[in-house]
Amino acid sequence: MLDDSGWLTAPNTMTLAGLSLGVIAAAASWFILLNWRVRRKTELIRRQIELEASTERREQQMQRMEAIGRLAGGVAHSFNNYLTSILGFSELLLESLPAKDLSRDGIATIHKSAQRGTEFTRQLYALSRKQALQLEILNLNTIVANMEAVLRGLTGERIELSMALAEPLGSVRTDKAQIEQVIITLVQTARDASPNGGRFTIETRNVDFAEPFIQDLCQLKAGPYVRLSIGDNGAGMDENTRLHIFEPFFLSKQKSRGSGLALALVYSVIKQSNGDISVASEVGKGTTFSVYFRRE
């Protein structure tokens, strides 16, 4: 170190301490900065991996649903041919046999079963997303309000059903009969998840997405929508169930009621009507299905 006259002198203790502190402080700052950068980079990579994994999972799931639809359509086509013979020949026999013939009951049962099969193939066709829909401009509040008595009948006394219908609500373009069936199925699903009763909420509102909304299979472009939500505080579901909930026969494996096609049909009908559906659920807390239609 140089003194005022330019001679080299030994540094005093204070100066050394100051220097050391400066170096330590600089090193600490550098370390903190480095640590922050590494953490930030790690977090970005983790998010990217998660995003890619979830996009891949969603694409796989959508391809799976498409394949299921095609398979359902093919199966229904073949079955309709078989059912044509079964129904036709059993009708032919019933026409031929005397009224008191003992075989009539058995043949009538075959005929009845084949007719049920016809209804089942109709549902399978619906899954192949090629059925004819009567699309019209509708107000979901009117539909829900007109269905209130039916829905209260479905839920029974142990379930408290409340409605929160936003006014004014935008119009949507969909099939009235199909959306009514969608609402009934979703309420039945909620009821099945609430064997001990509970609280259900049916809510409508206008929502606007500034950015695309993506959640599991639900993919909406940015824009104005009408949302119809049906929520319960029942058993809820885990992530695996939530991801597969719209696959045919998935819930039937878990001892749900019905044909096992109900939620698959809901998904299919909503997709055909240019709408989409998302599910939010937590085990023990409940589930909310949200149906979105573009606001007209």
Binding site: L83, G88, A114, R122, K130
Partner: protein, 134 residues
């Protein structure tokens, strides 16, 4: 004189079932098991009506309908398309191919009979020079 119906259907059981049920109602029935045979039978027998399955081997039902409707000798014959598909697109395509009506499988026999009777009632005008064999 019994009206003659040609059933063009590749499924043997369905063909047999329809033949028996329609014969019971007094119709004269002839059958074909694929599209090519269907065209040949229609041209040779000139039936009063054709029940045409759309999913056929050799030549599909839509093409059979197009060829029969563009051939002067057979263009007047009413065709009811039958299919195991139950989609509106199919109906539109069948009508566009020249079919007069459409029904879906499984067949509801009374409904089909109604369609057959409606199409047979006002005797379709036969083009000049064509004699309908009975």
């Amino acid at each position: 004189m019994a009206a003659k119906i040609l059933i063009v259907e590749d499924n043997e059981m369905n063909r047999d079932m329809l033949s028996r049920r329609l014969e019971r109602r007094g119709y004269e029935i002839c059958v074909a098991g694929d599209g090519r045979q269907g065209i040949e039978q229609a041209q040779a027998l000139l039936p009063d009506l054709i029940l045409l399955d759309l999913s056929l081997p050799e030549i599909d039902g839509w093409e059979v309908a197009r060829r029969l409707k563009t051939t002067p000798a057979t263009s007047h014959i009413p065709i009811i398309a039958l299919t195991a598909h139950a989609m509106t697109g199919d109906r539109d395509e069948a009508i566009a191919a020249g079919c007069n009506d459409y029904d879906t499988k499984p067949i509801e026999f009374q409904r089909l009979l109604g369609k057959i009777e409606t199409l047979l009632k006002p005797a379709a005008p036969v083009p000049p020079g064509i004699t309908r064999p009975r």
